[in-house]
Symmetry: D4
Subunit: 214 residues, 8 copies
């Protein structure tokens, strides 16, 4: 009654429903996991999960794995599939890594090959220019950046692949919890960039996975 | 001196620089068109162009065509290329059509097959449900919607293709010039959706074109 | 002196004053409950009450009941009345349930029949379409949704009953504590929808109760 | 192609689709009116219509009437129905009348009895207190107010009928185009109030009409 | 070096500098109190002081008194003066009392007669109408209200004394930490009202004290 | 029917209702003036009146005077009263003068002595320091300033009279139509300042007039 | 009386008071120019001046020159001084040129050598990298950019000179009149950047001039 | 992999990369410090460091020093250089000192002479006027102020040196975490002022250091 799991989502969207953990009680999360385990044989992902959520799921099934940096729990019942093409996850700074890891883990669980290129922000732009090849060989590029998010514009100017920009809430003051990066990415002078919600590593992975499997 | 046209953009990004008309004088626009005509043999696009801009470009070259609904000028020097796969442009209402046409014309000029599905907003959801096939056969779907932008979420729930959401400024009051649709699309409960700037039909076409040509 | 309880509110508004707990000391709450118990024989409701508030009221009267999911305390001195027509409370997700329960409990205490339909958000729209009958047989429908709040628009398009939309603060980033859902509901392309404050399950129940008793 | 008129809306929602004029070309509006005239025999309403829209519709059918204060066009092909119960439309000031008239005309066209009580704002509260009877005998009350919108709270405290509050953009400075009234109405200390978009006389009428016909 | 106490403020402004506690270390506060005790013989007030601040000041002088509800510390070295005319402090609800007490204590320490009228919000307007006499006999009226702050407008309509409105952060959701009350008070349809910062009981007392001593 | 003039306002508030012109038709304004002329013998003030409003009122009565800089019309049927004490109106710049004149004319019509001190903003602070005497001899001081509104804080630090701060919309960019001045005045480090709405010269005059007549 | 020209500003600030034209009547502007011409022999600058302002000043003195692109009038009574070091003005796009010209003309009038580097935005970053030498040989660099303002960050990463960033209002939608660029520049991941108001070419020139003359 | 330290930053920007501590794990910070110690012989600065960060760095090298008021850690491997000219750091109040100390320590580590002038806010303007000499003898002035930030404007009016304004988040209510000071400083009526992010003492020091070394 508290949850109507969407068992057909994989059919419609290409990947099953993911459990968004905040706002659910641990009992609700356990019940949803049990319900999903009965209805399918696939892997199950819980996002934005702190260690308590992991312990709760662990008490239901020993297949639970915790990706701490990504704050993600996977009930891993089969090997992850993979692809020849890769999704590239780029960050501006070290502090953006948790969001990037949420993206990378989600995309991996959804059966994609993923590569990472971290801490190449525009304050030292040679770090980016040294890596143009790995960017242009990706099938799609996810740019994760906080503060002013300028990295998305610079990558946008350098590459002919679709770019998914993830603004992060890293910063303070006029960053306003990620608004500066969000607005910067939405109004980028470069083109071929689309944006997901602040800190939404999950959503970027969904979009990238759909593109990667075209 | 007033413009450094980026003649390598097609090499890097897959399509040439587009002239963003607002804020430029008619003389500057004419100068840029002449400069681009000298350096390449391809088509030239000017976006957000009112009739004055069209007349100015027309005075430089008789190849200029005006797509009025899209507020776009094309200096058409060769036939548009096209693709087997199509980009689908969907609108919630009739008033969103100008933005949708900017998207459709831009994508067409960039060499893509484009289909249109207009006025299928969620207030009469059968209009959308009747058209699930054309949505799921597209390579990528652009959802153009104002007011609360709910159409993006509903399409997101129904389809396994990447979705590019374009919030429009259609609405009044708490719409705040498109903010309600923008925020709605960014925080959608559906996944696999990425968002461009308010009224940014051009940007959506760039992203879709990159995806369509993968 | 710290409180002038409005003992005529039932006469004027159809239901008695409800104690809004935040910002009051436990001693003030106890004093108000004692005062109200002296002046009337009816049930007393305290909203937004954490367990401390419940314990405080419990120390004054053993008739206190705690509805935990709804964060509501009732001093239950007579059976709740009920109605033939029902108010339907719908949620988009599991995480919206606390606000929905505040609505459901408040409406029940005010003497209404209440039905619940939870977790039918638009990301899996069949969950909603399967339940059109229970929606259209209600006297009024309360839609509780966070993130982009699109559920209100879709229900609005499907039903001829007055709809009260409750945006919730469920979400993150560009949700801005419920603003995305609030703006989405205010600017809905569907009609016959009115909106209450973010997370205001209480207010929705008051409005619905007035409608249900017409 | 530019419009998919929702011919079943009356069946689902209790009143037919209304033409929202802004953002549509006059040719589109004429086409929609012709299309609707072919498919039904009922009255047709176009909202937010300036005189140009009226002239355009008039060129299609001589049944067109212009309600100037309400900025509404009606293609009146049958007498308006009415009800025994009435909807009361209240305004705080004279400047709120255009929004109030949009509400009153819409509700009338939808077949409701409507009464008006204008210019009774709280700066001279005796004007309101003198009219408590007409308020409490209504089936539902629509409060139209700009500036700080305090009238909604005061009416809310005086009456046991559902109240639909319409914030208007009347005011300047920190009114921010109606935000002060909108926020005030959403956070009212009185209960049993629900709110529609700024200046949304139309939406208030839809909600009231649904309530009035229960 | 960390503080340049403004020892002439009483000469220029009519009351001495008040210590604003947040952001100062306890050692800094003690140092400032000691410095002020050396330079004058008058009372010293520290605002926004939690119990730690009180203990710190108490360790410097046994004359320290803690007004808990007002979160104010007074180093009371002489009796408070008083006036024949009184300042009236009115609140909308019980939860607004802490701000009202900050006002009342500050005004008292500054040598004014103060009267209180609490919990007379507009949801039950008879509570206010019963007290028109005490309002109109005051020299100036301070209205303290959260949520939508409508009380200021209603008092403004009833009284010929200058009104100082203090918006409070009481409320949730679209209250946005006091913005709804602040905007409502600034855009009031009543006149003769001026506003201070959200929760700024201190500032209201300063303004009222200046008026009361004219 | 379109207006319920508040003929008792002078009794309650000390000055009669003023006609706020925006949003009223010229016919409505004429009707209100005629109605007021019948019911009282006093002067009548219409604020925010452009020349059209003046001509309309002039067509009703030859007693109409237009104060252009103040955008105010007075139907002058008796000499303005005056007071021994004066209200001082101070501006930061030349561009703030229209708002200052609205204040000065309103206060004059309400029967107060008014003095002006214009263009003494803090960028050249000697202009203010040269005028400390005229400031401290006023009964109350109205500070009118746009941009960052710092003048209010500096005057606040120099004077023991109640200060009414009027933020103006003079400025651009991050001024956001007066928000920078408004927020600056509300959060001033000086005390004894209260604030009215952006550009609200009228409201400042009402407050000052009430203080001046205590 | 309407203006107290600050004749000592050159002594205190290093350059004389500049006339900010908006909000002043043409008569006031003429009066101020005449007053300044009497008190000093230097050049006089009026900023944000449209052609009407120029004509008005021209009617006072034939020394008036109009810099149209910069919307600046100079009463040129002596040759501009210059410096060995230069201030570099950089723009992201062609549409930012009006703000850049306001900066360049102001700095020139204040006696500085100025160089221009226009249309080198990050969407084609080679345009910037080709010009590193002219950037690093400047004494200070002014970066003028709209949209997301990323150019400031990239220049900040490349150069050891103080950078003054000027956000412009070029853009639409989520640009919000320059907010996206403003926030991006304030939260830049690069360091050694300080920001002036949106479109404030004048302010950037004042800051640069002070630095250039150190 | 988690960090690409920018070892050439000193060459390009004049000072080495600074470690921004928030969002980094202690292990990451230790790794970055070790990496930087291997690549250069200079001092290393970690900003926004709480005591945990200090302890972590201390475990790597005994050269770590903690500047508590500035929340800064320095790995001090050589004496700080200094300059003949000094940077002046001014604060409005005592509560602004932590931000001022971050500025002062950063500038000192970067090799500049620094002087401090604290608690000279405009509420007691004589405190500032008494110190005009130390202000005008500085090479550049950093003004650190919260609340309305008026101090920047007043200093701007008094001095011919470049001014870097740092808005702080000191204040409450309509301060909105520093927005009131930020907007005030951006829209200052004084000129020659540029602004950094709220609470960004670090950024102000970088800008000042670049200026001081010209
Ligand atoms: N306190 C601070 N405030 C703003 N930016 C800083 C601060 N400290 C360091 N930075 C910048 O942040 C960048 C480091 O980001 P990250 O790669 O996440 O370590 C550095 O290059 C600095 O320019
Ligand atoms: N980290 C995440 N961020 C945003 N959306 C998510 C996230 N994880 C799951 N979701 C979405 O949230 C929906 C679940 O909502 P609920 O019914 O409350 O569990 C799923 O259908 C997902 O599409
Ligand atoms: N959960 C709630 N949300 C909004 N308003 C409430 C809630 N509970 C009670 N109220 C209202 O708040 C008023 C009480 O305010 P107070 O005088 O501070 O107790 C009551 O009259 C109710 O109308
Ligand atoms: N509760 C308060 N709210 C607002 N301002 C205050 C408060 N208490 C003291 N102040 C003001 O804050 C100033 C002190 O700032 P500071 O130099 O940081 O101590 C005093 O001059 C007072 O005018
Ligand atoms: Mg880094
Ligand atoms: Mg339609
Ligand atoms: Mg769910
Ligand atoms: Mg009126
Ligand atoms: Mg109460
Ligand atoms: Mg001036
Ligand atoms: Mg360009
Ligand atoms: Mg101080």
């Amino acid at each position: 009654s508290y949850a109507k799991v969407d068992h057909h989502r994989e059919l419609r969207n290409g990947y099953p429903e993911v459990i968004y953990s905040p706002g659910k009680t641990l009992d609700q999360i356990k019940g949803i996991v049990e319900n999903m385990m009965k209805r399918s044989k696939g892997n199950i992902l819980a996002s934005r999960a702190d260690r308590d959520v992991f312990e709760a799921i662990k008490s239901v099934t020993s297949d639970a794995i915790y990706y701490e940096a990504a704050r993600s729990v996977v009930v891993k019942r089969e090997e992850y599939k993979t692809t020849d093409d890769y999704i590239l996850v780029v960050t501006a700074g070290t502090a953006d890594i948790p969001v990037a890891e949420e993206t990378a883990v989600t995309a991996t669980v959804m059966g994609n090959q993923v590569k990472r290129l971290y801490d190449v922000g525009v304050a030292g732009i040679h770090r980016l220019l040294d890596n143009v090849a790995i960017i242009n060989h990706a099938k799609t590029v996810i740019v994760v950046a906080g503060m002013e998010g300028a990295l998305a514009s610079v990558v946008g100017g350098l590459c002919d692949k679709p770019i998914i920009a993830v603004p992060t809430s890293i910063g303070y003051g006029a960053n306003f919890g990620g608004i500066s990066a969000l607005l910067g990415m939405l109004t980028s002078c470069a083109s071929g960039i689309a944006v997901v919600n602040i800190d939404n590593g999950f959503g970027a992975a969904c979009m990238a996975s759909k593109i990667n499997k075209l």
